[in-house]
């Protein structure tokens, strides 16, 4: 082994990643070559110092606080629902193409339809299986239906495992990356312009939505979405009948490893008690 080779392999030798014969050749070289030996010593010193750097010990109540957070749900900064970004602004931004740098998430969050007969109101559940819409005349359901179709189309085109029935989507498989959200958003924009849906969520629904957001926030972090952007959200509610609530979440910082684009789509569904 010559000096050039030894210099090149110094890091690997330091980390003992060289094949045995090369490691031996390296050792023999530095024993015979003072400049290389000194250089190797410098590397070793740096490594030793780094490994001896002090640790940052967690606080004594680390576990206690962690389990407190687990039990109460992921904490969010207060007021994330207090300053919603107007949906028209979001959509105009979207239309302008600015969202190529952001991830958009669209969720459908179904609530009790007081006009549609009794349901089990004993508990609040999210992502619970709902009957497949028999009609797509309902504008909100239609938007959701369109969205799911787009999602299935994307999954099929990408060769991904797909869930054709939107009612069968579960929390673990609801996160997808795709580009087909535009159609659904356009439809949503039309619905807003036509006055079919309005913005707003109040009282208990707001609280539940907040808790739900907290869970999503954890998921978003895992999926590399930026929580800061993720805190921006918009709730869109049907004006009449109140059979469904849809919300649009905007997130940024996500990265699709396949396409390097920044878009994500999320469908959520569930129901809650009637007010």
């Amino acid at each position: 082994m010559n000096c050039q080779h030894a210099q090149k392999e110094m890091g690997s030798a330091l980390d003992r990643r060289l094949p045995q014969s090369e490691q031996r050749a390296f050792q023999e070289h530095i024993l015979a070559c003072k400049p290389c030996r000194l250089e190797f010593d410098r590397h070793k010193k740096l490594q030793t110092w780094t490994q001896s750097l002090p640790s940052h010990k967690p606080s004594s109540d680390f576990s206690q606080r962690l389990f407190g957070r687990i039990q109460s749900g992921e904490g969010s900064p207060e007021g994330i629902l207090l300053q919603p970004v107007p949906i028209t602004r979001k959509l105009s931004i979207f239309a302008a193409g600015a969202v190529t740098a952001a991830a958009l998430m669209l969720g459908a969050f179904l609530i009790q339809d007081t006009l549609r007969g009794p349901r089990d109101d004993s508990s609040i559940t999210f992502l619970q299986t709902q009957p497949t819409p028999t009609s797509v005349s309902d504008p909100v359901r239609r938007a959701e239906f369109e969205l799911n179709n787009a999602l299935v189309g994307y999954e099929t085109a990408q060769g991904l495992q797909t869930v054709p029935d939107p009612n069968q989507r579960t929390f673990d498989n609801i996160i997808h990356r795709g580009k087909s959200i535009e159609d659904s958003l356009s439809l949503l924009a039309e619905l807003i312009q036509a006055g079919e849906i309005r913005i707003g969520l109040e009282g208990q629904q707001s609280l539940e939505f907040q808790q739900h957001m907290d869970r999503l926030r954890v998921q978003a972090r895992v999926m590399q979405w930026a929580p800061s952007d993720w805190l921006q959200q918009q709730v869109v509610e049907r004006q009449q009948g109140s059979s469904a609530v849809m919300f649009i979440l905007e997130a940024g910082g996500g990265r699709d490893p396949a396409t390097k684009t920044m878009r994500h789509i999320l469908i959520l569904r569930g129901k809650t008690k009637s007010q």
Partner: protein
Amino acid sequence: MTEHDPLLLSAYHKAIQEYSEPLKSFAARMLTEEPEYAEDVTQDAFLALYRHLHAVPEHAWRPWLFRVLRNLCLDRIRRWKHKPRAFRTMADEENRDPTPPDLASSDPAAQAEVKEIHKDLELAIAELPEKFREVFLLCEREGHSYEQVASILDIPLKTVSTRLYRARQRLLKSMSKYLEVSS
């Protein structure tokens, strides 16, 4: 609170005991501008793991936690960079001070020297570009293999060794005054 199998929960508790310190240390050195958030993001990572206990195999918890933590750190760094300067909370010097080192030498002069070396090394590491810093810390400080780091950071193996090499070169340069003396 999601119910988990008692054995799984026990393993989770053990993971907290075992990994929280290296995770927090990594976070503190990644969050050079806001090291006071190191514990928060470490908790976030454990929280995320709890939500995915059934999805992440137990043997993969450690690299998974580091991967999530690294993402959380990068997210916080991004947010800090986009924060208006006036709103940036400068960390107290107290917050920046890690746990005092357990110096092997009883010689006060030697202890002082090591402390000074550590201080300058921390600064030099903090000045590394993030992509070099994370590889260096994961390999050199936290003892991950190149393969594990490649997996955690989702980069090719070759990139790991290249970044590690460059990080070392920069640090050798930054620490040259100590290295020349001690050589």
